[in-house]
Symmetry: C2
Subunit: 508 residues, 2 copies
């Protein structure tokens, strides 16, 4: 049995032994227990109760959660207090989604013997839960994208039990949160096993391979995510894999924007690429800045506004960050307006310093080693790409892999067709388009889309916002089923008061 | 260059040389041309025009289409005339879907600086087309699931250009229909290349591998579909593969139903399993009939009502059908209440005779060679499984792979909790649940779900009905984008009059 240790990322030193790595038998037991608990989740009232009670219990243990998460993530109490609030808001928002019932997408077509081109039977459709959802916790959000995060909340809301694979960067937080979620289940009269937790690298593939696992939610790296995606797709019975793998989140600063808003843009970029020590999936990692004096002012501003050092989530990530910056900086033609690197001191020996790289857009056309600049470098670094013309700029944009976000900074008077074309072009390569703002800060709201073309996401779905629930459901149609034998959601009298589309017309 | 021949399935003889098999260069050219034509499909008015004009042109050439399709499919003029009407109805129904605009799922959340847990920016979400869709035509529906079928109609409705891989069983019909779809495009001022056509076995993998192919629609066998699914999933950039691969479509006849409705059920089953010579994806292939006198009456009825011989779609399918029946019939304990087999005569030398197999439910628990009985046998044969108890019946149901449909035949007085449990159990293994009817006949309607757990479908989507359009779209969110730079679908004044959800409330 291999111990699972909680570690201090500031020093790399172990804090405590939290658990042991899950064996194949442990994973099997967790998935079977979750599957057995699944039918209890059929009752929507109970599900909404579960989500609200979970939020309340997490808040009640807020102090302990924030301390535990800070000790093993070094993300800081302010950020983690905010993340906990966001997590609880999200759980309650999904309780509201369950109660509103629109996610069931109820469609009723009454029988019509005279319908063209053929008589129509009575047809009633709604959505049912897929089954056990495997959730892979993210390193960079110990709460909002981990055990009590959006994947878990949306899956429970859909009626799916969950088994979470804890992230090794915050096992103590994971154990604490799982205990609270299971307590919430017990408190509302549900089996505790609607939420399970497993640990250890090998538990991941086991979880995805398990015959009773019905779908996967993943947030992490391209390498790890793709390996699990491949397992999910090559099973005898393939299952949906909703993964968020990696994103450069390009930003375009137009000539006009640079001329009129250089100071503000540089400061905003500095704040955004260093937020959470650059450990956000929506960190702006590539910024297209015009060549010339106006662009130079943007560069000076971002360098001046960049704040000092801090630790990353774990020593392995720190190594990958330092190596990634080094290999990029060594490419001919790449300069370092602000050098990133090691900056440890006695209290935080593993700290790093944020940095800014710069390269001419024309270099990227060379491909080969320059393709590394089109890959995400996780941590506080951003690459400024200086372009000489909008054609050069668009060539870079079109060479990018898929993104979670794409941002345009425009001049205040840029509201013309050229700007509209730029916005349309950005929507072709990303799931979210931001104008005159920054991609960091993903609002939990119905209209949010947190996903995008591969590798930003492995499916067309979102992992944030109300529609994230759609990932864990499949439609079922009932044909000529007598009313007493229908699920209550589809009965003629609409006993649950659900919104529905009846004979083509919205009704409730 | 290998010739593509149209053949008469009644005799196996070639009718005419229709085309040559597409080379890798041909496929590349077709996909690039479709991709280049894609932007023209952005205009929803033009798309609705295209779909309606296509329906009109198909109807105008109805006589030629039906004759051509009958010559190479032997499905008969009555069936094909009906299929053409269904195909045209479907094209027009998707034009209506485009105009109604609900499929765009427009969600607007206005900015709210005082929102909890964090200030909310202005967020606006709708759906955009994925890009070029590869459509694999089905053998058994030369029209409704082929060149002008539901995949093509829903993809064009979504704004995606289409490249169809013709099915070798009806190349002449495919060429004719593609010509008419391209003519419809030209007539409404769109590039003809919004629809392309390729031929030949090798064109399939080429089409799925092509970097500009963005999604796949497939109807066919488990073997062929899974091979293409694996290619789609293992691409450097994986793409969604919406495949309908195979289904047993179980039917449960309860004791009470057998006691009271044996004659009617047997006659209905005979009509359903032999419809289109058993070449429907929703053919009832496994029927659970109670042991004893009442069940025996059902068996006698289905045998008595089974109609005589006919040809299958092609000689290869005929061989597979005969071999599949033979190997099943040879299993110890399997009987043949009605022997299927060869029944050719001078005019139709390749005709076959429908048949009924029977086996005790207890045998299926043996697994091993009996697992073949849980696989689809394409063609006019159905397997009656005689059960001694509802426990035995449920054991068989739970051992089945995923299905497009599951059907219950109940007694007229069976409207109790036991019957409700049976219906609920069927909904766990299928995409559509039918009571006291037959799965054949898939209504084109908003509430239809033509899909189901794997291998019935490779995704949670449907290939029939309005929601089939969802397969070809992905959401994009616009954050703080100034109104003049938004796509018209998302502008504040709602110039297109779309239904939308604004700040959580349905509005238009």
């Amino acid at each position: 049995m291999t111990d699972v240790l909680s570690r201090d990322p500031r020093t790399g030193r172990p804090l405590e032994r939290v658990a042991t790595e899950s064996t194949a038998q442990d994973v099997d037991r967790a998935v079977r227990a979750a599957a057995a608990a699944g039918p209890a989740l059929r009752d929507p009232v109970r599900r909404a109760d579960l989500l609200r009670t979970a939020a309340a219990l997490l808040e009640k243990s807020g102090e302990e959660i924030v301390s535990t998460a800070d000790a093993e993530s070094a993300l800081g109490r302010v950020r983690l207090t905010g993340e906990l609030a966001r997590t609880c808001y999200q759980l309650r928002a999904f309780a509201d989604v369950v109660e509103a019932g629109a996610y069931l997408d109820v469609i009723i077509d009454h029988a019509d013997p005279s319908a063209a081109p053929a008589p129509r039977p009575d047809l009633r459709r709604y959505k049912v839960p897929l089954g056990v959802v495997a959730v892979f916790a993210a390193s960079n959000f110990p709460l909002a994208f981990s055990v009590p995060g959006g994947d878990t909340a949306s899956a429970l809301a859909a009626g799916c039990p969950v088994v979470v694979k804890a992230h090794p960067d915050h096992p103590a937080t994971s154990v604490l949160c799982a205990r609270l979620l299971r307590a919430a289940a017990a408190e509302v009269g549900l089996p505790e096993d609607v939420v399970g937790l497993v640990h250890g690298f090998d538990a991941g593939p086991e979880l995805v391979r398990h015959p009773l696992t019905a779908a996967v939610g993943f947030t992490g790296s391209v390498r790890g995510g793709r390996a699990l995606f491949d397992i999910a797709s090559s099973r005898p019975r393939p299952i949906p894999f909703h993964g968020e793998l990696g994103s450069l989140n390009p930003v375009v600063v137009t000539e006009r924007a640079a001329e009129t808003r250089a100071e503000e843009i540089g400061a905003g970029l500095a704040a955004s690429y260093t937020l959470g020590m650059g450990q956000f999936c929506v960190k702006p990692g590539l910024v297209l800045v015009p060549e010339g004096a106006a662009g130079d002012a943007v560069v000076r501003s971002v360098v001046a506004a960049t704040v000092p050092s801090g630790p990353l989530l774990d020593p392995r990530m720190r190594e990958a960050f330092l190596a990634g910056v080094r290999s990029r900086a060594e490419l001919p033609g790449v300069t370092e307006p602000l050098g990133a690197g090691e900056s440890g001191d006695d209290t935080t020996p593993l700290a790093v310093r944020p940095g800014v790289l710069s390269v001419a857009a024309s270099r990227l056309a060379d491909g080969g080693p320059y393709e590394e600049l089109l890959e995400e470098c996780f941590g506080p670094v951003t690459v400024l790409v200086r372009y000489a013309s909008s054609a050069e700029r668009d060539t870079v944009l079109n060479a990018l892999p898929g993104n979670l976000t794409a941002t345009a900074h425009l001049g205040v008077d840029e509201r013309d067709d050229v700007a509209a074309d730029l916005v349309a072009g950005l929507s072709a390569i990303a799931g979210r388009v931001v104008v005159d703002g920054w991609p960091t800060g993903v609002t939990v709201a119905p209209a949010m889309q947190h996903g995008g073309p591969y590798p930003a996401a492995t499916s067309a779905s979102t992992s944030v916002g109300s529609t994230a629930i759609e990932r864990w459901l499949r439609p079922v149609c009932y044909q000529n089923v007598p009313d007493p034998l229908l699920p209550p959601e589809l009965r003629e009298a609409n006993p649950l008061g659900l919104p529905r589309t009846v004979d083509g017309v919205p009704a409730s």
